[in-house]
């Protein structure tokens, strides 16, 4: 039977067990003489039996599917031709891959060597055997676990406790999947970065001021030994992010104050969603807006007042990115400002303060921790932003603080390093991982600072 059928059968059996155990609980409270004082709800007995039915079966199914390919491929290897075996493990692996591929292909060409046709047939028979074996074992397991489950449900009146603790375990598993994925990503980036730092010194990487990641692919190639100083990339990132924040923080904060303190509830309910639409515009749209509209406009305006503005200036990318992150600042700040208790405002108004005095001296300080964290969230968004800078910022790694010149950013370089055909052991490709790691550390630091600020102020003010 196919995998889907098996899943379906397990599902149906579980539902049936749920219905059965629940009905039985209605008729006689499991293990209890006093029918009116059942320990758990009938549904809990249903869930308990359904868990007995489904969990062992699903565990078997998943582990079978994880282990199966390895075993089959081992068995195939043992029957590989001797000359393939003689060529070493890699050759056997390749041979197996070919057999797997051919077996899954729609049509097999006729002119295959006899040993390959035989191997394909062997693979197919192995797979059929595995399926039959799985179906048999699965039926056995389900039968056994249903028997055990029925015994358990009959003897265990406290089904609710067990179901509740299973829910907790289930939630912990869900939470750990997210955490484990994060750890996995960090580790993979970390290990690739370590490989990079074996080729290029860590100190050179973080203190070097020249970035030109061209390495020679052929030994006879001219020049391009590669130079991996990340400082120009990080200054570029910081320059563009700073411009973005200079645009976004005042605009976002002022809109938040207007929305929270001055706007009527009708205006607020219209304006706030409109502002949040800014966050919903795809960054690629912002990208060509920056590259095709804002940058040329700035360039011609610069020319008209005698400034030379690069057509891929940091200013254009930064300003557009700033517009993009306005809602991060405004929406979150609006929430924290609204959350400041009305009693604080009453106290201030009651002392004869004007509205702006109240906002400046009472509401804003009370909301500051939240505002700081909203700004830092916007900052980490700006630092990690890719599409706008890929389209609107330059590629040349120039070490400059002039916003009118073209700069490049960490994210742009990661994109250019990893697009196109790459070999995965050259310093050039591995540099992308090192950059990614540095970027990750930077935004992590920002988040830690944000958390710390919030906690510190909260302690002080409560």
């Amino acid at each position: 039977m196919s995998l889907n059928t098996l899943f379906l059968i397990i599902l149906l059996l579980s539902i049936a067990s749920y219905v059965y155990a629940r009905r039985r609980a209605f008729v006689n409270a499991f293990g209890q003489t006093d029918n009116k004082r059942r320990h758990s709800l009938p549904a809990h007995y249903g869930y308990l039996l359904a868990m007995w039915c489904a969990l062992p079966a699903l565990a078997l199914l998943i582990s079978w599917k994880l282990i199966e390919p390895g075993i089959i491929s081992n068995m195939l290897s043992s029957s590989a031709p001797t000359e393939v075996k003689a060529a070493g493990e890699t050759a056997v692996g390749l041979y197996n891959n070919e057999i797997f591929y051919l077996a899954d292909a729609d049509s097999i060409s006729q002119d295959l060597p006899a040993h390959k046709t035989a191997a394909i047939q062997r693979l197919q028979s192995l797979r059929t055997a595995s399926k039959i074996l799985l179906t048999l074992i699965l039926s056995g397991v389900i039968g056994l676990s249903l028997l055990l489950g029925l015994r358990h449900v009959n003897r265990e009146p406290r089904a609710r406790v067990i179901v509740e603790s299973f829910i907790q375990v289930f939630l912990v598993v869900c939470a750990s999947i997210a955490i484990l994925t994060t750890i996995g990503i960090v580790l993979s980036v970390l290990f690739e970065s370590l490989r990079f730092f074996q080729q290029v010194g860590f100190i050179d990487f973080i203190t070097g001021t020249s970035w030109s990641p061209q390495t020679a692919i052929r030994s006879d190639q001219v020049g391009s030994s590669g130079s991996f100083g990340a400082i120009p990339l990080f200054t570029g990132t910081l320059l563009i992010s700073a411009i973005a924040l200079i645009v976004a923080v005042p605009l976002g904060l002022m809109s938040a104050i207007y929305l929270a303190e001055y706007a009527s509830s009708r205006a607020r309910s219209t304006i706030k969603p409109l502002l949040e639409i800014l966050a919903g515009i795809p960054t690629v749209v912002y990208g060509f807006f920056a590259a095709l509209t804002v940058a040329p406009a700035m360039r011609s305006f610069g020319q008209s007042i005698g400034l030379s503005v690069s057509s891929e200036s940091a200013l254009a990318a930064g300003v557009v990115m700033g517009i993009m992150i306005i809602p991060f600042v405004s929406s979150l700040s609006d929430d924290v400002i609204t959350a400041v208790p009305q009693s604080m405002r009453d106290a201030s108004f009651g002392l004869g303060a004007t509205q702006s005095e109240t906002i400046r001296k009472v509401v804003f300080p009370a909301a500051l921790p939240g505002i700081v964290s909203s700004v830092l969230l916007a900052a980490s968004r700006a630092i990690g932003e890719t599409m706008i800078v890929v389209m609107a910022a330059g590629l040349a790694a120039k070490l400059t603080a002039n916003p009118l010149e073209a700069v490049t950013t960490v994210t742009v370089q990661i994109v250019t390093l990893l697009t196109g055909d790459q070999e995965f052991d050259s310093a050039k490709t591995l540099a992308a991982f090192a950059l990614g790691l540095m970027l990750f550390v930077t935004t992590l630091l920002l988040n830690v600072i944000a958390l710390y600020t919030v906690r510190r102020y909260r302690e002080q003010y409560e």
Partner: protein
Amino acid sequence: MSTSTTLNDIIPGSPAIQESTKVDDVTAMLDSIEGTVGTTRVENPKMEMREVDVFYADKQAIYDVDLDVARNEVIAMIGPSGCGKSTFLRCLNRMNDTIPICRVTGSITLDGVDINTREQDPVLLRARVGMVFQKPNPFAKSIFDNVAYGPRIHGLAANRAELDEIVISSLKRAGLYDEVKSRLDAPGTSLSGGQQQRLCIARTIAVNPEVILMDEPCSALDPIATARIEELIDELRENYAIAIVTHSMQQAARVSQRTAYFHLGKLVEVGKTNDIFTNPQHDLTENYITGRFG
């Protein structure tokens, strides 16, 4: 013990057993009142309210109330929840302006000048008519900055020494100075509930008001802290006119010279506190102070 024993036999005259007043009766009594029982006016009043109506959108919360606040006097406003006494109090320093749907009509004067005219600035008015709220609401600032807040926004102190002087004398008059003098830079929120409320009173008197409005200032406090605030209110009467809203009839009896009884947005009865509590004229007042409803 006979089977016919009731609670009334055990506790004679228990309010719970007396025939309780029906809601219909109350409405009937309320409809029957024309104007207010007792004298609403005083000689040389600090504040005068005439024909005050208050509306929240279309809903009327206060009906045609006349009342005076006398100088150097505590007037208590009592009544069941939702009777409009807090709303009425908030008219006196135009705090209702901060609620967009709220509309006040009628005349309210402070020293004979209408406070609701266009020329009157609510900011200046609130400096003259201070307010203490139900829940202690110190700012998330130091004790010193809490008290200095008002003087700073009104520019009452020319320099730091004068500001210190104002803060310290306000804390002293609020009876808080001795408890906090060693930690004026500690957060106001670190104080106990009763201390926080006295801090709020100090903050209010720091701007040197003429009238102090108190909206159930002790309802969030324990009996000992309440007693301290009540003593303080009695002392403050020497310099200020005080209007206090309270749910506690004992408190009204202890701190006030005159008492006004509100019911469903109408001022039912007003008079000397002693008279109100010993010899109420209106049935509703009597029912309320004897605990038959409320």
